[in-house]
C-alpha cells in the first residue's frame, strides 16, 4: 500500500511538473471597463482556451489609476508582461527605454495589414514597440429628436447634419433660439482643447510635426483661426461649458442637438433608451477632408528583469491574437486598424459603423514627441480659458506656441 502511495505521489508530481514546465504564464494589465471590459475579459478566456500552452492572467485597473499603477510597476521592476497603452503617450515611455522592441517577433505580412497612419505611430526611434489594437477617433453625433423639434430638418424630413463648421455654428444657434435647447455639447477637457483643436488644425492644412525641423512647430495664425471657430460655437449660448459626463447627459436627455465625442460612446448610445441619434464623420472646412483626431489603444511589452524569450513570444502571440479578433473588439465602438477587418462583413454588420468607418483613415494621431502628456493638458486649459473669456483668440494662440516651445522636444 505504502509503495503504491509513494508511486502515485511521484507520478503526480511528474505530471504536474511536466504540465507547468510547458505552460508559460504571462500577466496582462488593462484599463478597460464597462462594455469594453467584458469584451477584453472574454478575449482572455477564449485565448487561454485556444492556447493551452500559454496562460494569460489579466488584471483590470481603473482607467483613472491605470497609468499611475503602470508607472509604479515599471519603476519597481515588476511590470506586467503585456499591457495596454495609448499611442499618444508612447514616446514618453519609449524614450525612457522601458518598452521592448518586438519587430523580430512579428511577421512582416502582419504589419503590412495595418493602416499606415496608425502603425507608424507604434514606432519610436525606428523601433516597433507596440501593436495597435484600434483607433478611436473623434466623430460627430446628432440627436434627431432635438433637431426635429427645432425644425431643423430638410425637405425630406431628415435631420440637418452639418457638412461644414459654418453650418454647425449656424444651425446650432438656430436650435438654441428655436427651443432653448443647446445647439451642441462637448467635454471641456480633452475633447475641446486637444481633439477638436487637432481636427480643425489639420483641416486648415496645418500639421503639428515638422519633419524638416524635427520638432513640433505651431503656426500661431492657424491656431488663432482654429480658436476663432471654437469660440464662435460658444457664443450665444449655443454650447455650454461642461465636463464629459455633463455633456453626454445633455445629449442623451435631448437637451443638445449636436455632440462631439469619441467613437467609444457607441458602446453606450445604441442601447440607451429613448435616444434617437445618428453618427457620422466630423464636419470639415470647405475643401478639406474631414480630418479628425484619433488615438489608439495599443499593446506594449514592458521591459522587466524577469522577462524571458519564452514570455515575450507568448505575449506577442497573445497580442497578435487579439488584433486578429478586433472585429469583435469593434463592438465597443472602436475602429479596427487592420485593413481587411475594417472592410469585413462582420465589422460592417455592426450598427452605424458604415457611417463613420472612414474616420479611421482620416484620423490624425498625436505627434510622436516626448512631453505630450504635459502639453496636451496645457491645450485643454488654454481652450477653457478661451471659452470662458479669459483669453482672446490671439492670446490663446500665443500661449499655445509658448507652451509648445517650452514643453515639447
Amino acid at each position: 500500500m505504502k509503495k503504491f502511495v509513494v508511486l502515485f505521489v511521484i507520478l503526480s508530481v511528474m505530471f504536474l511538473g511536466t504540465v507547468s514546465a510547458k505552460n508559460v504564464e504571462i500577466t496582462f494589465w488593462t484599463l478597460f471597463s464597462g462594455g469594453e471590459g467584458h469584451i477584453m475579459t472574454q478575449f482572455v478566456e477564449d485565448f487561454n482556451a485556444a492556447h493551452p500552452e500559454i496562460t494569460v492572467k489579466a488584471q483590470k485597473i481603473d482607467w483613472l489609476e491605470y497609468y499611475n499603477k503602470l508607472l509604479t510597476g515599471l519603476i519597481s521592476g515588476q511590470p506586467p508582461d503585456v499591457a495596454i497603452m495609448h499611442l499618444s503617450v508612447l514616446p514618453d515611455y519609449a524614450s525612457k527605454g522601458v518598452l521592448t522592441p518586438v519587430k523580430d517577433y512579428v511577421p512582416k505580412v502582419f504589419l503590412d495589414e495595418y493602416l499606415p497612419n496608425i502603425i507608424e505611430r507604434a514606432h519610436y526611434n525606428g523601433e516597433l514597440v507596440a501593436l495597435p489594437l484600434d483607433t478611436h477617433p473623434l466623430v460627430f453625433y446628432y440627436n434627431k429628436k432635438v433637431l426635429e423639434s427645432a425644425g431643423l430638418v430638410d425637405a425630406d424630413g431628415n435631420p440637418k447634419v452639418p457638412q461644414t463648421w459654418d453650418e454647425y455654428i449656424a444651425w446650432g444657434q438656430d436650435v438654441q433660439s428655436a427651443t432653448g435647447d443647446y445647439g451642441a455639447s462637448i467635454d471641456k477637457f480633452g475633447m475641446l482643447g486637444e481633439r477638436w483643436f487637432i481636427a480643425l488644425y489639420n483641416q486648415l492644412g496645418g500639421s503639428f510635426y515638422s519633419e524638416k525641423a524635427g520638432k513640433v512647430i505651431i503656426d500661431p495664425d492657424l491656431a488663432e483661426e482654429v480658436y476663432g471657430i471654437i469660440n464662435a460655437s460658444f457664443a450665444n449660448e449655443m454650447t455650454p461649458v461642461t465636463d464629459y459626463d455633463g455633456g453626454e447627459a445633455l445629449f442623451i436627455n435631448d437637451k443638445a442637438a449636436y455632440h462631439l465625442n469619441g467613437v467609444w460612446a457607441m458602446a453606450v448610445y445604441p442601447d440607451t433608451e429613448d435616444l434617437d441619434f445618428g453618427v457620422t464623420q466630423v464636419p470639415a472646412i470647405e475643401g478639406s477632408k474631414p480630418y479628425t483626431w484619433g488615438d489608439s489603444h495599443s499593446i506594449i511589452f514592458p521591459k522587466s528583469p524577469k522577462q524571458s524569450k519564452e514570455k515575450l513570444e507568448a505575449a506577442v502571440t497573445f497580442a497578435k491574437w487579439i488584433v486578429e479578433h478586433s472585429y469583435e473588439w469593434a463592438n465597443a465602438g472602436h475602429l479596427p486598424v487592420i485593413k481587411k477587418i475594417l472592410e469585413s462583413e462582420e465589422f460592417l454588420a455592426l450598427p452605424m459603423r458604415e457611417d463613420y468607418l472612414d474616420a479611421a483613415a482620416n484620423a490624425v494621431l498625436a505627434p510622436s514627441v516626448i512631453g505630450w502628456s504635459e502639453f496636451r493638458e496645457e491645450m485643454w486649459e488654454i481652450c477653457q480659458k478661451l471659452v470662458i473669456g479669459e483669453f482672446t483668440e490671439e492670446e490663446a494662440a500665443q500661449e499655445l506656441v509658448n507652451k509648445a516651445n517650452s514643453i515639447l522636444q
Binding site: L71, G246, I382, K385, I388, E390
Partner: protein, 293 residues
C-alpha cells in the same frame, strides 16, 4: 530601588513605542527627508536624479501656475475656515441643549463626515449640475437664473467650499461639543442667578472658557484646508481654465503625470514650510493661553 524601577519603566515605555516608531520612521520620516533632498535634483522617475541645486526653486517662483495654485489654495482656506469654525461652534451649542431628539440631530450632523471623499464629491457634482442639478432647481424657486456652478470661474471654488463645509462640519461640531460639555454647570447657574441672559452667558462664559479649543479647531481647519485636493480634482478638475487648481494638485500633476518629480518635490518642500509656519503659530498660541478656569 527607585532608580531601578524608573529605568525599567523607561525601557518598557520605549518598547511600547518601538512598533509605531519604526513604522513612523520608515514610512513618514524617511520619505520626508528624501523628498526634501530630491527637491535639489532633476528626476523623471525612470532615470537617475541629476543634481541642479536651487534651480527647481527658481523655476517655481517664476512660474505663474505655481502662484495661482497657491492663491487658489489660500482662497479655498479663506472660504472654508470661518464658516467651519463659526457654524461648527454654533451648532455645537445647539446640540448641547436639551432639545427633543437631540441624538437624531447629533447623528445627522455627523453622518456626512463618514462618507468618503469620492462619494461626496460626485454627489455634489451632480447637485451642482447646471441643467439637471438640484441646486439650480432650488435657486430657481427664488427667481435666480441657473448658474453653471462648477464651470464658472466665479462660482466654482465657492461651490466646492460649500460641499466641503457640508461634509466636514461634523468633525468640528464633535470637538466643540466635547469642550463645551466640560464647562461646569455651576458657572452657568451662578451667572443666571446674577441675572445674565443666554446671550451674555454665551459670550462671557462659553466662548472664553474654550479658548484652547478655538485655537485647536481653527489651526486644524487651516491645515486641512491648505491640503485640499480631492474634492476640487473630482468636481472641477482644477478648472475651468485652471482657475481652481490647488497646490497639491499642481504637485501631483508635475510629479506623477509630467514626470517632473524633482520639481514636484521642491514644490512640496515650500508647501511644507507654509504648513510648518501654521503649526508653529498654533503651538505658540496654545502654550500662551491655558484653560481659562
Amino acid at each position: 530601588m527607585i532608580v531601578t524601577n524608573k529605568k525599567r519603566n523607561n525601557t518598557l515605555a520605549y518598547l511600547f513605542f518601538l512598533p509605531f516608531g519604526l513604522f513612523f520612521a520608515i514610512f513618514k520620516i524617511f520619505p520626508f527627508i528624501r523628498s526634501l533632498y530630491l527637491g535639489f535634483f532633476k528626476w523623471d522617475i525612470f532615470g537617475s536624479p541629476e543634481f541642479i541645486g536651487l534651480e527647481n526653486f527658481y523655476t517655481l517662483f517664476g512660474t505663474d501656475k505655481f502662484w495661482e495654485a497657491l492663491w487658489h489654495t489660500f482662497y479655498f482656506t479663506i472660504l472654508t475656515v470661518p464658516p467651519l469654525v463659526i457654524i461648527g461652534f454654533l451648532i455645537a451649542i445647539l446640540l448641547n441643549s436639551k432639545i427633543k431628539f437631540v441624538g437624531f440631530f447629533r447623528a445627522g450632523f455627523y453622518i456626512p463626515y463618514i462618507l468618503s471623499i469620492t462619494v461626496i464629491s460626485l454627489m455634489w457634482k451632480l447637485m451642482f449640475n447646471e441643467t439637471f442639478g438640484i441646486v439650480n432647481k432650488i435657486t430657481s424657486i427664488f427667481g435666480i437664473e441657473s448658474i453653471n456652478w462648477l464651470n464658472d470661474p466665479t462660482f466654482a471654488m465657492p461651490a466646492v467650499a460649500f460641499a466641503t463645509i457640508w461634509w466636514t462640519l461634523g468633525f468640528n461640531i464633535i470637538l466643540y461639543l466635547s469642550a463645551i460639555q466640560q464647562i461646569p454647570d455651576s458657572y452657568y447657574e451662578a451667572a443666571t442667578l446674577d441675572g445674565a441672559n443666554s446671550w451674555q452667558r454665551l459670550i462671557h462664559i462659553t466662548v472664553p472658557l474654550i479658548k484652547s479649543t478655538h485655537i485647536l479647531v481653527i489651526i486644524l481647519q487651516i491645515i486641512y484646508s491648505l491640503q485640499i485636493f480631492g474634492q476640487v480634482y473630482i468636481m472641477t478638475g482644477g478648472g475651468p481654465g485652471g482657475t481652481t487648481r490647488t497646490l497639491v494638485q499642481y504637485i501631483y500633476e508635475n510629479g506623477f503625470k509630467y514626470f517632473k518629480m524633482g520639481y514636484a518635490q521642491a514644490n512640496a518642500a515650500i508647501f511644507f514650510l507654509i504648513m510648518l509656519g501654521v503649526a508653529i503659530a498654533q503651538v505658540r498660541l496654545m502654550s500662551k493661553r491655558g484653560e481659562g478656569y
